[in-house]
Symmetry: C2
Subunit: 458 residues, 2 copies
């Protein structure tokens, strides 16, 4: 391996992407003969700031992780250094997931307290996944949501403008760059500039030119001529290096002299709505692509000010979800086997109470629009209104459904997003969507709370 | 490979972590016979919000990338699909960096307009690295800075409390989780919960227990007993699952009955300063470790309210740098060879003007404290006051210095941070530190601006 610390997570080192406490608990579960079946639920207690919904994403990667986990020599060697027991390391070396996973399909709008994933397995298996599945599903959900907000503004106020992820240089590391491209595509983007994401996920890749191309020539005109000589019609010329309107004039002259219909010009600085109109006046035949500081708020302002664009290239604001950079996913033990039966469990920690038990999430519809969700107990699912959203994807450690491909997920996400009434899709102060806790789940929660509080009094 | 899309960036796919435009420009530079020597400079135009300084980090990973880059079969196959020319793909397959790299050593406080990295090489080499080096250096610098702010509050108001990164589940993907652990260590943390980061970088790893451990037993007391039975004195018991003070009493009883000095107890919810004092009253012998919502602001408030802690475990706020989640690094062409000589270059884009030419960054000191920096032209370095911060690390494609190890970088960062006068280290409204542009660089900038503006008038 020539890059020991850059592209670090190979299949060899992947199992170590976990918190030490997971492995320490696992060892103690095993050594102490305390390995009950457990159900863990992955959800968020509240939506990120300014968000009226999230778009679920990242399930495919989470399943790859669970299903493919293998502790090889390198991982075992390091865990030996950390003084884990040889018997426990033998267990890890032969680790295999034998449990059940239920999940919300990718692309589904999701709200607070609704599980994105539920894992039921011996606790010495289910516990292990916590860090990695929160990480993958939380991040992709964050970015799919951010992307959907931009697509939603365009759906309502724009003209089908192309959205391309330009964020790889500002994503938090390389995995984020690649996964952001995938998640943005789920959320309604058309592609990415990230070549690795194209290779990994077949997301369409796009690329224009940088200021360095222009500056590397003495005259902007020479830089345009040379690029068009190389790429012909497949050229998007960056016209703001010195003066955007003059750059548009030069681009037009080069296009005419070479008898080429350019694919477009890119504007990357200044008062973008005003400049786009100025460019359109001097060079009306060309498509304008807009980058620099683009997010849902900038796109809305661009339309409000009658800017002209065929597409936008959001970067930093997309891949870091700058205005709200976290989905606070948790993976909580909600049920555990005692005396041969699954018993609901919860914690009472202040401000962090969780609803006990494996869940059902049902969504009701009126006139094709979403009309409220109910979160209940798994066993009451059939008695609750609406459609069940959680789907069993792994049983006895085996995949029991084929996951949809990325195009299908993306289309589904677009369709389902539009079913959410528009007041919940506002990019500021969205109306909260109703997520009701079922009567049975409320009763279970209150009963268990009383039991636990009484126990603490003793 | 069993996880094609989770741990994606292996040495095989690493070269594809780039924006498509880099490769398209590269191909055109090559095919068009336009391959001048170029200098690119990586810097930020302004500090992130609320920041009075940044701590440079990530150089080691950036150099691994540049030096280890190899386009193998898998990368070439995908680029063939994207219709790059065979001759260009041959060039990539035999790609080797032959240029020069100057850099700011990791752990150095750094400010706006100061290069963290300068690359001089044929433009068809130097251009290629843009996406990856901004990504790696930008992210680690972001997190090292966030970490340094927390350590700085403790240095000034605390008592040497331990800081451990608990953020892996909320980092933006896996690479961010691992690199955040490294960068936080550079910034003054004592370790991480991330096992992969321990393996990769020898960062000390720490782990306690989760609520699920406690909930998996019918009685909290049994859960504590069992854990202590397994780990003895090496136990940190999580005491807030049901009631923090009652949990502290139970922990104390278990410790006494087993005649064990616990390593500590962890508090993860509620009014943490108040609860820490309450816990200290019922169990004064034990160390309190504090997690949940920890950042520099929470630590300051914790001390202001006389909370009692031996350590803190910041998570989300650390690894996403939530209050300011981006370092807007850029990698700009600042000089290019024309007629056999290196000529300074710049763009005039509104709000994004760059200073031309390869740079010198010099730092002056008064009474051991930093007293202002000067950014000038590389060739005037010897005539400027203070100490030169940029160091040549790669010459003719070969490493010419040994990079310091992580412990050395961390110590250096702590030492240098304390040399920055305290008014620049305030966590809110810090006093801006002086970064003067040298007279020669100002003159060069103005002269070049006039030349470029005149050229646009033609």
């Amino acid at each position: 391996m020539s890059q020991p610390s850059f592209g670090y997570l190979t299949p060899e080192t992947l199992p170590l992407f976990t918190d030490l406490y997971e492995l320490r608990m696992l060892q103690a579960y095993r050594n102490q003969g305390h390995d009950p079946t457990a159900t863990f639920s992955l959800f968020t207690r509240e939506l990120p700031a300014n968000r009226g919904y999230m778009i679920a994403a990242g399930l495919e990667q989470a399943l790859h992780y669970v299903e493919g986990l293998e502790f090889g020599d390198r991982a075992i060697e390091y865990l030996t250094e950390l003084e884990f027991d040889p018997a426990f390391l033998d267990y890890l070396e032969s680790f295999e997931f034998t449990g059940e996973i239920r999940a919300l399909p990718e692309g589904t709008p999701v709200f607070e307290n609704e599980p994105l994933l539920e894992v039921t397995a011996p606790i010495s298996q289910a516990q292990l996944f916590e860090t990695a599945v929160i990480n993958q599903i939380g991040f992709q959900t964050l970015i799919a949501t951010k992307a959907a907000r931009m697509r939603d503004v365009i759906d309502r106020e724009g003209d089908g403008q192309r959205l391309v992820d330009f964020g790889s240089r500002r994503s938090h590391g390389t995995d984020a760059g690649i996964k952001a491209a995938r998640a943005a595509y789920v959320g309604g983007f058309d592609g990415t500039s990230n070549v690795a994401a194209g290779e990994a996920f077949d997301v369409p890749v796009f690329g224009t030119m940088a200021h360095s191309w222009v500056q590397s020539f003495e005259h902007e005109r020479d830089s345009f001529e040379t690029f068009v000589d190389e790429y012909g019609e497949d050229s998007v010329l960056l016209i703001d290096t010195y003066d955007t309107v003059a750059g548009a004039e030069t681009a037009k002259a080069v296009a005419e002299e070479n008898d080429v219909d350019l694919r477009g010009v890119r504007l990357d600085s200044g008062d973008l709505p005003a400049l786009s109109k100025a460019v359109d006046e001097v060079f009306p035949e060309v498509d304008e692509f807009i980058s620099s500081g683009i997010d849902e708020y900038a796109i809305r302002e661009f339309f409000d000010r009658d800017g002209i664009a065929a597409g936008f290239g959001p970067g930093t604001a997309l891949v870091t979800s700058t205005d709200s950079p976290k989905v606070e996913g948790v993976y909580k033990l909600v049920a555990v086997e005692r005396d041969g039966e699954m018993q609901p469990t919860m914690k009472l920690s202040k401000g962090k109470v969780t609803y006990p038990g494996a869940k059902s999430v049902r969504r009701t519809t009126e006139g094709g629009e979403y009309a409220g969700d109910v979160v209940g107990l798994r066993e009451e699912s059939d008695d609750l209104p609406g459609e069940e959203l959680l789907e069993t994807v792994v049983e006895d450690g085996e995949r029991v459904v084929d996951l949809p491909d990325l195009e299908t997920i993306r289309e589904r996400a677009a369709d389902l997003r539009r079913r959410l009434p528009v007041e919940h899709r506002r990019i500021e102060d969205p109306e909260p969507y109703e997520v009701r806790i079922s009567d049975a789940l409320e009763a279970e929660t209150e009963g268990l709370r009383r039991t636990l509080e009484e126990r603490m009094d003793v």
